[in-house]
């Protein structure tokens, strides 16, 4: 009984709040939200605003690709654990189930004074609130000798898509007993454990198809995410195959030569038979065009994900400066819900709740040996602050590690449903 009365009350309260708090929005005008980028941040934001507003907000999602291949789980594909099609998703669910206006175009410019997004076709879309969730762009020139022109010879494969398929082909076709060189990016970058899960997955593939192959990691950093867990796993599953060389030992990558496949460091020059080179990163270009960046990334207000530069623009995911929150699909999805709640509140007067975030990153080291790290966060006055955190333990049972892997598959199905259904 109390459930019914409370629900009725909530409806009345929300309706009253809307009337009182937003007299400036004229009757009949449906406020417009434009979301740029259909990944974990943008698709989730579009879905939650449309779903929860129930027609009270008009949502347009601008995403160039008709099919979105997730960056998360692309390593699992590289390891041969799933096919490429299984990490691809379309936007029909958002259009059909949620009524989102999905526009497959590039957003090329944001006129924040006029509150308009210009599209590649020359058309423009007006907004009351804009969500910018463009992911990353690569700073190709952060590595001497590397460029977009040689990215097919040494794939970065850091934005999913055909680059990941290319890398898989190069792994499969590497000569027997050859050397694979992995160059992880410097901080901060998308998916902190990603390069090391990638090495694990390529090592697993080599145990199946190229058991005498070697992997050399030329890291620009002196340490990395879940290092102890990865190194123990490599020792256990791939003894003698993987050599991680810290920046303190190789002294820095001086040059890469895509023609000779050579990597020059102070320590030595390494010759590769296949390679993955992931350069430094920055927020996607449209964030710069919108003027919400400060340098390479976009500062946000931690309680709402609003840009510090423009209260009508929200920046989600990798492009934002979320400080202690890693750049991950899970983080972007979590941030999108805080932003969606805030945007809906601003436009319709619905209740705005406390900003709470969470993240978990699963990494597969070998079949049924999966480790995870995660944290919960709150929107503080200065930054998004860690509330609590956990990490897999070195002495976890094999059952726990296997359960982690199953959990990661369920998470994949959960988050992609949460983004696209």
């Amino acid at each position: 009984m109390s459930k019914i009365s409370r629900r009725a009350f909530t409806g009345i309260a929300a309706a009253s709040a809307a009337t009182l708090a937003f007299p400036s929005i004229s009757l009949g005008a449906v406020p417009r939200v434009v979301v740029i980028g259909g990944g974990a941040g943008g698709a989730t934001a579009a879905r939650y605003i449309a779903k929860d507003a129930g027609g009270a907000v008009h949502v347009t999602l601008v995403e160039a690709s008709k099919r979105y291949y997730t960056c998360f789980f692309s390593n699992i594909y590289l390891g041969g654990f799933r096919n490429y099609a299984s990490i691809g998703h379309n936007y029909y669910g958002l259009a059909v189930n949620q009524g989102v206006n999905v526009v497959h175009e590039w957003a090329v410019y944001v006129d924040s004074a006029a509150k308009k997004v210009n599209l590649g076709s020359g058309n423009s879309i007006s907004y009351d609130k804009l969500v910018v969730s463009p992911g990353i762009d690569l700073k190709y020139d952060s590595i001497n000798g590397y460029s977009a022109a040689v990215q097919d010879k040494m794939p970065h494969a850091w934005k999913s898509g055909t680059q990941v398929q290319l890398l898989r082909n190069q792994v499969m076709n590497m000569k027997q007993g050859g050397t694979f060189v992995m160059v992880p990016p410097p901080n901060p970058y998308r998916c902190p454990p990603g390069p090391y899960e990638r090495v694990s997955m390529i090592a697993h593939q080599f145990t199946q198809s190229n058991p005498t192959a070697k992997i050399v990691i030329l890291d620009p950093k002196p340490k990395f995410s879940k290092q102890g867990l990865f190194e123990a796993g490599w020792q256990k599953h791939y003894p003698g195959m993987i050599e991680w060389i810290s920046s303190e030992d190789h002294g820095g990558l001086k040059n890469v030569n895509a023609s000779t496949m050579e990597f020059e460091t102070d320590l030595d020059t390494f010759k590769a038979d296949a390679a993955c080179v992931v350069p430094a990163q920055k927020a996607g270009a449209i964030a710069m065009a919108a003027g919400v960046n400060n340098g390479d990334w976009c500062p946000i207000i931690p309680t709402s994900m609003q840009s510090q530069a423009d209260e009508n623009i929200y920046v989600l995911g990798d492009a934002s400066v979320a400080k202690s929150m890693p750049k991950s699909g899970f983080s972007a999805n979590s941030q999108a819900k805080v932003a969606a709640n805030h945007i809906r509140g601003a436009l319709t007067g619905s209740k705005v709740f406390d900003a709470r975030y969470s993240n978990t990153c699963w990494s597969l080291i070998a079949p049924n040996d999966d480790v995870k790290v995660g944290a919960s966060y709150v929107g503080g006055t200065e930054a998004i602050d860690v509330e609590s955190k956990f990490i897999s333990q070195a002495d976890d049972s094999s059952d726990t590690r296997a359960a982690n892997y199953q959990e990661s598959i369920d998470w994949y199905n959960g988050i992609t449903s949460d983004m696209f259904s």
Partner: protein, 112 residues
Amino acid sequence: MKILLFVIFLLTSFCKFAFSDEHLDEQQIIAMGDIEYGEYLGSECATCHIQTGESAGIPAINGMDAEVFVALMLAYRSKLMENPVMQMIAGRLNDEQIGSLALYFSTLEPPK
């Protein structure tokens, strides 16, 4: 009538809150819940707990009985149940938040 029901609800909630022991039972916790808040908090759950069907390891929670939901969350919060992700999620939820989530998920269609 609705206003009367609401006043009764407020009074009963207040009495339970004011005179209860430190540890509330499942029904008392559900009574503290707010369904709209539960919907917002529940968006965090939807990242892993698939909303459109069953899954193999992470259970579906749509349509879960509210008391069972509360009992499970209390067990994770007190670390009686083991999963570190759930211990973290439940660890930062207060009784009102757990009650809100329980109410919200109990109203959803269970997976077919």
